[in-house]
Amino acid sequence: MQPASRVYLDNQATTRCDPRVVDAMLPWFTEAYGNPHSVEHAMGREAEAAVETAREQVAALIGAQANEIVFTSGATESNNIAIKGAARHALRMGDDRRRIVTLATEHKCVLQSVADLADEGFEPVFLPVDADGLLDLDRLRAALAEPTLLVSVMAANNEIGVLQPLAAIAEIVKAAGALLHTDAAQAAGKTQVDVGVGIDLLSLSGHKLHGPKGVGALYVRRRPRVRVAPLFSGGGQERGLRSGTLPAPLAVGLGEACRLAWAQMVGDAARATELRDRLLAGLSAAIPGLRVNGAMSPRLPGNLNVTFPAVTAVRLMEAVPELCVSTGSACSSATIEPSYVLRAIGLSDEEAARSLRFGIGRFTSAADIDFAIAALADAHATCAAREAA
């Protein structure tokens, strides 16, 4: 199969690197190869200047200051540093709070980072979500009755796209005196995310917003100052928070991707919403009984997650190999376990197995959507008929 014949609707797994991002990175893949930490010579200083511009671009996307941005290898690393780092720093400072609160529907790297901390004497609390996928604020208040160190709530879910009410959550978390971390890997660049609502730590990823793989950022609030312990030590780069040579080309790519996302957010979001609604309308018309998972609003513009009435997701994907979609998080898509996110919003294993995630991105066309509708409608009818026979 030729790549050109593929229809890519898996933009929550990863996105195409925008050609303008690639162009911005190219000089750093060619003539400019200084180590940004080698400020003793001119080539190092050029790289440093480019990295600092990128830092400003990342900061601007989320309403932060440049000196609040730490470059990492991606959102997984950002989440690990934020959660383990905040907990370990507090422990070191003699803080006696041990509770760490998160949601059952967080990305696996958040769930595992929180769970790992149990071995270090912390008390993980995993809050359920309602049938829409949203956190019940009263449950959060109740959990925070016990002195709590950190609350980690994702901005947008990676499978069902629902947006958690971060501003309201921040207010409650603040009142309880805890820190608030948000995994904004899916939300950043797609929908407004402003650290000004009271976010202390925020993770984002390059390849989820049309930037390159291998780079991400962690926002660490400066005023009042939030402190986290590094995950690993070394040359002391990124103010000691993240050692290792900064990958200048990747950082430049992330910066440009953030700049473009900010500049185009309104238009990109409107297009993605329109295409998403077209997809849902088309599928619903062709396949009676199709059900949407998670609240339609507020939701990521480009996300749709549906349960098909009669055919499993795996069968549908096999029937339409040109269509790149997924049954859930990419990291675990090689496993056949039912999605824990769909289970958390009340689907049975069997229903979860009949569910597909669609991710619409900047480069998705109306023709892609129409192909998906026609191909899936056809496949669903054929497979259902075969099963009935």
Binding site: P3, P247, L250, M317
Partner: protein, 361 residues
């Protein structure tokens, strides 16, 4: 600009650039099962096979990381769990800072590890994890790693080797060294920054992650792999140092010695591209700045600590006293030309003369 700071970062090799740029166009997530994901997965696994064969290991034992620092951190956290740790006195900060309370293994005046001391240390702490670099980043001095591995084995100790500077400049094989793990970095061998690997010996491969995530890298390192950087890393790793590089290094060194410089670690086996030359009485940062103004990029030590110029812990451990604050590192990139060495020799002579006159005034 004459770039003689390769140990901070090698210029990108053309093959690596082509591979990285091609990989930027691969949209899929290597963990996705659809066609785009499988294409990305193929790129990743091809890179893994290249790295494995280049460094004497099995593909399943290669864990891709964001670079050398993370690879070292993963080795120390993973292999060091429940063990006491011994660290070479001249190790990179990535290793020293990872275990600040580790026992230090002294080096001999030529910069090589003191193996008698290793034997004695391990007699007291059998079953320790020993961290020893293959080649030093400041002097290029090579440790007798095979001998160190044999001593470790005798005491039931594990050996982790930081091969970040050696890889790409000399043949490096995990099986050949007899070590338990090997850390390598992409941008130190002509790949793009942002990728590296921890390469594990058979039987040591099942280590706990530092980055918890979606189970990537067989559960040993979470996070979507940095595909473009990894593809570039593999393409660069297939190359080696250019044949004439030791001769050019010797010429640069001779030019400095002719101006009164002392070579640090010059009597030990060294990387072919690196020399550390001290100018008695002249501060290293003054030398680096003067050379920078003359268009020559060198460094006073590790790039990570650039800007905070202090005495080199590497040279101090070799017993060089005040010279430890007076040495610059000259490290030749794979792309070095004879004209670069001529430019260095001219600038160095002018720098030495001017700074000495300044000192005398």
């Amino acid at each position: 600009m004459t770039y003689l700071d390769a140990n901070a970062s090698e210029p990108l090799r053309p093959q690596a650039r082509a591979a990285a740029i091609a990989a930027l166009d691969a949209t899929g997530n290597p963990s996705s099962v659809h066609a785009a994901g499988r294409a990305a997965r193929r790129l990743l696994e091809d890179a893994r096979e290249t790295i494995a064969s280049r460094f004497g290991a099995r593909p399943a034992d290669v864990v891709f990381t964001s670079g050398g620092t993370e690879a070292n951190a993963l080795a120390i956290a993973g292999l060091g769990r429940g063990r006491s740790v011994i660290v070479g006195a001249t190790e990179h900060d990535a290793v020293r800072a990872a275990v600040p309370d580790a026992a230090l293994l002294p080096v001999r005046p030529d910069g090589t590890a003191d193996l008698d001391a290793l034997d004695a240390l391990l007699a007291r702490t059998p079953g320790a994890l020993v961290c020893l670099m293959l080649a030093n980043n400041e002097t290029g001095v090579l440790h007798p790693i095979g001998d160190a591995a044999a001593i470790c084995r005798r005491h039931g100790a594990l050996l982790h080797v930081d091969a970040v500077q050696a890889a790409g400049r000399m043949p490096v094989s995990l099986r050949g060294t007899g070590a338990d793990s090997l850390a390598v970095s992409g941008h130190k061998l002509g790949g793009p920054p942002g990728a590296g690997a921890l390469i594990l010996a058979e039987g040591r491969s099942d280590i706990a992650p530092v980055l918890r995530g979606g189970g990537q890298e067989r559960g040993r390192r979470g996070g979507t792999p940095a595909l473009p950087a990894i593809a570039g890393f593999a393409a660069a790793a297939a190359r080696g140092a250019p044949p004439g590089i030791a001769g050019l290094r010797d010429a640069a060194e001779a030019a400095a010695v002719a101006c009164g410089a002392v070579v640090c670690g010059g009597n030990a086996p060294r990387l072919p591209n690196t020399t550390s030359v001290a100018l008695p009485g002249i501060r290293a940062d003054a030398q680096v700045i003067a050379l920078d103004l003359a268009g020559i990029a060198v460094s006073a030590g590790a790039a990570c600590s650039s800007g905070k110029v202090a005495t080199s812990h590497v040279l101090a451990a070799m017993g060089l006293g005040p010279l430890a604050g007076q040495a610059i590192r000259v490290s030749l990139p794979w792309s070095v030309q004879p004209a670069d060495i001529d430019a260095f020799a001219t600038a160095y002579a002018a720098m030495a003369e001017r700074l000495r006159r300044h000192l005398a005034a």
